[in-house]
């Protein structure tokens, strides 16, 4: 029996879709079977980030309307074994789907796959309730700025009310240089406010944009700092006990390391 994890944030543009694509791919690279589900009905883009948009025939809407079997709607990623996408309908909107219908889909996917990652739309309305309806766990993505953090805090409250746990935090677009010169909140400040378990820190990485444009998730190129961060999160999701930061790695995280040795 697999796990259904909703990837959510409240605020748009903080990296939910990027995280879903990369974590889904990373988990598959680790040998897990994974379905990534786009719950952003009407504004889908997980298919583009995954580079699978040209192969979509059916969407979750077709499954709900019983136009096709769930298994037939899954698009297989040919680059890695065990990775599939369930696309969202682009011509419908969020109110065309009920939370119970999403839950039914997630429940079915959970029986045949290790991980089901649901890419949530921004907002706290219907799109969010649909995306979280079938979730066992949540990954909240935030960037280290006050408005994204406040929205993440809001979402965490809603997830707690829905008794979804654990809720793990991904801190995205983190820049040790900006923290160093005082223009970005550091990891400790963010955790002090949100007070949930941190599962990973993804650095600001220009490779994310090029990988999005090419439709090749970053984790296929294991040299990049963003790819390494996502691989570490994926390993932690599979239960491996590895530290958040790779302290062997010079440069990028040295500031964080300095911070730890200074304060602890």
């Amino acid at each position: 029996m697999g796990k259904v994890i909703v990837v959510t944030s409240g605020k748009g543009g903080v990296g939910k879709t990027t995280s879903t694509a990369n974590l889904g791919t990373a988990l598959a690279l680790l040998g897990k079977t994974v379905v990534v589900v786009d719950a952003d009905v009407g504004l889908r883009n997980l298919d583009i980030v995954m580079g699978l948009e040209s192969r979509i025939v059916y969407t979750s809407m077709d499954v709900i309307e019983k136009q096709c079997e769930l298994s037939k709607a899954l698009v297989r990623d040919r680059r890695v074994d065990g990775l599939m996408l369930l696309a969202a309908s682009q011509k419908n909107n969020k109110d065309d789907i009920q939370p119970e219908q999403m839950k039914a889909i997630c429940d079915k996917l959970r029986t045949a796959h290790d991980f089901v990652l649901v890419d949530s739309p921004a907002g706290i309305e219907r799109g969010f309730s649909n995306a979280s309806a079938g979730a066992d766990e949540a990954i909240v993505v935030t960037t280290p700025d006050v408005s994204a953090i406040r929205d993440a805090d809001r979402i965490i409250g809603l997830l707690q009310n829905a008794r979804i746990e654990p809720i793990n935090l991904v801190l995205n677009r983190f820049s040790p240089e900006l923290v160093g010169n005082g223009s970005m909140m550091d990891q400790a400040d963010v955790l002090d406010i949100l007070n949930i378990n941190l599962i990973g820190v993804v650095p600001e990485d220009s490779g994310v944009i090029t990988s999005t444009n090419r439709g090749i998730p970053l984790v296929y190129e294991d040299g990049s700092p963003g790819a390494q961060a996502y691989m570490r999160i994926a390993r932690r999701l599979t239960g491996q006990r590895i530290p958040i930061h790779d302290f062997e790695q010079k440069g990028l995280f040295s500031n964080i390391l300095n911070w730890f040795t200074r304060k602890r």
Binding site: I124, R150, D151, D153, R154, L158
Partner: protein, 223 residues
């Protein structure tokens, strides 16, 4: 009543030294000494508000009294107020019980309020409201979160959101937080905007209505 000329009372805004009608300054000093020695804890380092029940002390006498309080008891006088009431006859004839009931009973009191413990953080978009009394939060109140209480609010964490104490009009209500960085503070119908958005200072702070009818925030030492 152990002492009919002076009385020390703790209100939400701190200690008050109430001085009732009297015959001489010497009598007042003796009464203060008696009242303070009656307390079985040290008052050193705290501050008092002097409430004159009638304007019987001259300005120089008040100054002298203030410096004596500082020297002898390490008590700082943070303000002097003359009660707005007709000059009463000297002590011999003063109906002290009447005056005492006036100083204690005109304010809705903390004693009659209930309190509620909230065992978690109040997050953005969440509101905790308790008009029946005081709220104690075992966590933070985050930006976008809101706590409202008929009585006091005590946050055993960081206050980053908004807090509204004394929502039924008890102006002695206070807001205490281990770390203070609120978006908005309100006590009764007084709203504070000046100390909002400050960085937490790393020590507990208390907000209350001060002498000039504005909400003041200062280091919290003891209640």
């Amino acid at each position: 009543m152990a002492n009919s000329i002076v009385a020390l009372r703790a209100y939400g805004d701190g200690l008050h030294l109430i001085i009732r009608p009297h015959l001489s300054i010497a009598e007042v000093e003796a009464a203060i000494q008696q009242e303070i020695s009656r307390m079985n804890r040290s008052l050193a380092g705290t501050s008092v508000q002097i409430d004159l029940k009638s304007p019987t002390l001259k300005e120089e006498e008040i100054e002298l009294l203030s410096s004596k309080l500082q020297e002898t008891y390490d008590l700082t006088v943070r303000g002097v107020e003359v009660a707005d009431e007709p000059i009463a006859p000297p002590i011999a004839a003063a109906p002290t019980t009447h005056i005492i009931s006036q100083t204690t009973d005109t304010r809705p009191s903390r004693d009659s309020e209930l309190s509620r413990i909230v065992p978690n953080t109040i997050r953005s978009g969440q509101t905790e409201e308790f008009p029946q009394g005081s709220l104690i939060i075992y966590g933070d109140v985050n930006s976008g979160g809101e706590v409202k209480a008929g009585g006091d609010i005590v946050v055993l964490g960081t206050l980053r959101g908004s807090a509204y104490a004394g929502m039924n009009g008890r102006l002695s209500a206070v807001i205490i937080a281990m770390d203070f960085a609120p978006l908005k503070l309100q006590i009764g119908n007084y709203v504070n905007r000046s100390s909002v958005n400050q960085q937490p200072r790393g020590y507990p702070e208390i907000a209350r209505i001060g002498a000039e009818d504005v909400i003041i925030v200062e280091k919290f030492v003891k209640f």
